[in-house]
């Protein structure tokens, strides 16, 4: 087969009369590799700047300007690729497929925001992520969603993350990229459905703060988990909370936890304890159920993989269950690989999918179980504080804190004194 093609190559004609020279085939180069380093540099600078703005400057307006820059640079200029959200998949693939060459840029985009989140919370979301900035800049008239709805919908993001990892680990494709609502708008081209989805998300963002970040973003899940153990993060008040409750309704993202009224700062009641015990006992059950259900879906998920889909098609064609052939089955037959090999590969893949499906199901089970346990807890919060997982450090609450006003006044005075 190969020989027949080798034989095709032989010297081109000589143009004895005109002496015509063969033109060279043009090969426009891809984007300069050095620009990758620029991207990484800009990312680091933006993260550092965002950290400074959130923790030190505590200025919403400046943070918004940084967000606008990120939107223009990472979004419209860089066409939304490379992006930290999608990098989850590349990193997963690199972990499971040793032949995959992970670009350094993607690794840096995946790891750096997480590292920052572990130390200073989700400053990446605040103003570096173009997706977040886009939605945040659209937010005009926030509607507060009930807390239960917030938690319920947020479960979607965990499932989305699980599925994205399953598909990336098994070679089934990058679903985060495929179903990204904004990247098509950044590129000003793409499938009509996805552009419309993006527009709907943007229109929703006028009223509902950052719908994609809160309810779908798989990277937000990781950042939230990292943020929950962060050393420093956005604090509503620069000083002691006076329990004035002014910040309470200002957060559009349900990310401020109310202080517990003094009368309810009590030890857990027997009912609380009983509930906690039941929920703890529920945890393994939910995980095992997830494991089981996830494994059941593996067979179907496997069809996302080209090899499995092709093997199925070839099998059905051979069995006479379908008529005609697809481009893929034609191509496969032209290649001459024995179908048994394909089937063996497909079986191995299905096995991997079942395994991955189980892990994904267990992950969702674990999250639900843990959520139920945490919700069984009786909170004891002496003051209003940002939620460790959900706060995206947008700096809105600062503007309403009387302590913050006091701080700014003092600072202005000091500056005035220094200036004079």
């Amino acid at each position: 087969m190969i020989a027949a093609q080798i034989n095709q190559r032989f010297p081109p004609p000589q143009f004895t009369e005109t002496g015509h020279q063969l033109p060279h085939l043009t090969a426009p180069p891809p984007r300069l590799g050095a620009l990758d380093w620029l991207d990484m540099g800009v990312l680091l600078a933006c993260l550092a700047l965002a950290t400074w703005l959130v923790l030190r400057r505590r200025q919403r307006r400046e943070l918004m300007l940084l967000g606008l820059f990120s939107l223009l640079y990472f979004g419209f200029w860089r066409n939304g690729c490379v992006c930290a959200i999608g990098s989850i998949q590349n990193i997963t693939q690199a972990l499971f497929d040793s032949s995959y060459a992970l670009p350094l840029t993607v690794l840096v985009f995946g790891v750096l925001p997480l590292a920052f989140a572990l130390v200073v919370g989700r400053v990446f979301c605040a103003a570096v992520c173009p997706h977040g900035a886009f939605q945040d800049l659209m937010l005009l008239k926030p509607v507060t969603l009930p807390v239960w709805l917030e938690h319920g919908l947020r479960l979607l993001a965990y499932v989305y993350l699980g599925l994205a990892v399953v598909f990336a680990a098994t070679g089934g494709g990058y679903i985060i990229c495929r179903f990204d609502p904004f990247v098509q708008i950044f590129r000003l081209t793409g499938s009509l459905t996805m552009i419309l989805t993006g527009v709907i998300f943007l229109l929703m963002s006028i009223f509902i703060g950052r719908p994609y970040c809160r309810f779908l973003c798989p990277y937000g899940v990781l950042l939230g988990l990292a943020g929950s153990v962060s050393r420093w993060r956005a604090r509503i008040t620069p000083d002691k909370c006076t329990l004035c409750r002014r910040c309470q309704n200002e957060c559009p993202f349900n990310a401020i936890n109310k202080a517990t009224p003094r009368t309810l700062q009590i030890d857990p009641t027997p009912e609380d304890k009983r509930r906690l015990v039941i929920r703890c006992a529920l945890l393994p059950t939910v995980i095992v159920a997830g494991l089981w259900l996830g494994g059941l879906s593996g067979d179907s998920l496997a069809k996302a993989h080209h090899t499995v889909a092709l093997a199925e098609r070839i099998h059905l064609e051979d069995a006479g269950a379908v008529t005609g052939a697809t481009d893929a089955s034609n191509g496969f037959r032209a290649e001459g690989t024995p179908p048994e090999k394909l089937f063996a590969e497909a079986h191995a893949l299905v096995h991997r999918y079942v395994l991955a499906g189980r892990l994904c199901g267990a992950w969702v089970g674990l999250i639900v179980g843990l959520k139920l346990i945490v919700l069984a807890w009786r909170p004891r919060r002496p003051e209003f504080e940002t939620d460790a997982v959900r706060c995206v450090a947008c700096a809105r609450c600062f503007e309403h804190c009387p302590q913050e006003h006091k701080r700014r006044q003092q600072k202005a005075e000091i500056n005035g004194v220094l200036a004079s």
Partner: protein
């Protein structure tokens, strides 16, 4: 509260350590130079999906002419309809539906064919004609002045024979070579 802060710190340190380890182990394998998408012309079956699946309205995939293996035929099966009315550049004879191939007389009986890229939609019709009958000097390639280098190439996803994969950016094209398939 103190205890909680301690556990938080512990978790943070562990997470940072883990993240560092992950990044370190992957960085050893990671490439500093980036990669780009490209079509393997030996696998390509000219199905036409390159023209329709690209996120760009006018696909980043174009036909390229690799002159070194072109036969410079008068009756070019990549340029002319299978049964042309006459071997001239009249629109009724041309294979390319968008008229993106340029035919130039060199000397008897040789003609040179080149691609007018802005007009090419990447449908692969001429590639099939050239490869079936001729030397296969026309082939489809992703042109990197147009390609957005999406994280997941939507053409690669739709390609029936998985002919599109990432290649190192310093060798961004996969032209057929004079020596043939290796």
């Amino acid at each position: 509260m103190k205890r909680r802060a301690f556990f938080n710190g512990l978790a943070r340190v562990a997470a940072l350590f883990g993240l560092g380890g992950l990044a370190g182990s992957l960085a050893r394998r990671a490439q500093a130079g980036h990669t780009v998408w490209q079509i393997d012309p030996w696998k390509c079956t000219w199905c036409g999906k390159c023209a329709t699946e690209c996120v760009l309205e006018l696909s980043a995939v174009k036909c390229v002419q690799f002159y070194d293996i072109c036969g410079y035929c008068d009756f070019c099966t990549g340029y002319f309809e299978p049964q042309p009315n006459k071997l001239n550049t009249g629109a009724e004879n041309q294979l390319c539906p968008t008229g993106a191939i340029i035919r130039k007389f060199i000397e008897d009986p040789y003609y040179e064919y080149s691609i007018n890229e802005p007009l090419c939609v990447g449908c692969g019709k001429c590639v099939k004609g050239c490869t079936l009958f001729g030397n296969g000097s026309f082939h489809l390639q992703i042109r990197h002045d147009r390609c957005l280098n999406c994280n997941e190439c939507s053409i690669a996803k739709a390609c029936p024979v998985q002919a599109i994969s990432r290649v190192p950016a310093d060798k961004p094209y996969r032209f057929k070579t004079l020596e043939g398939k290796k």
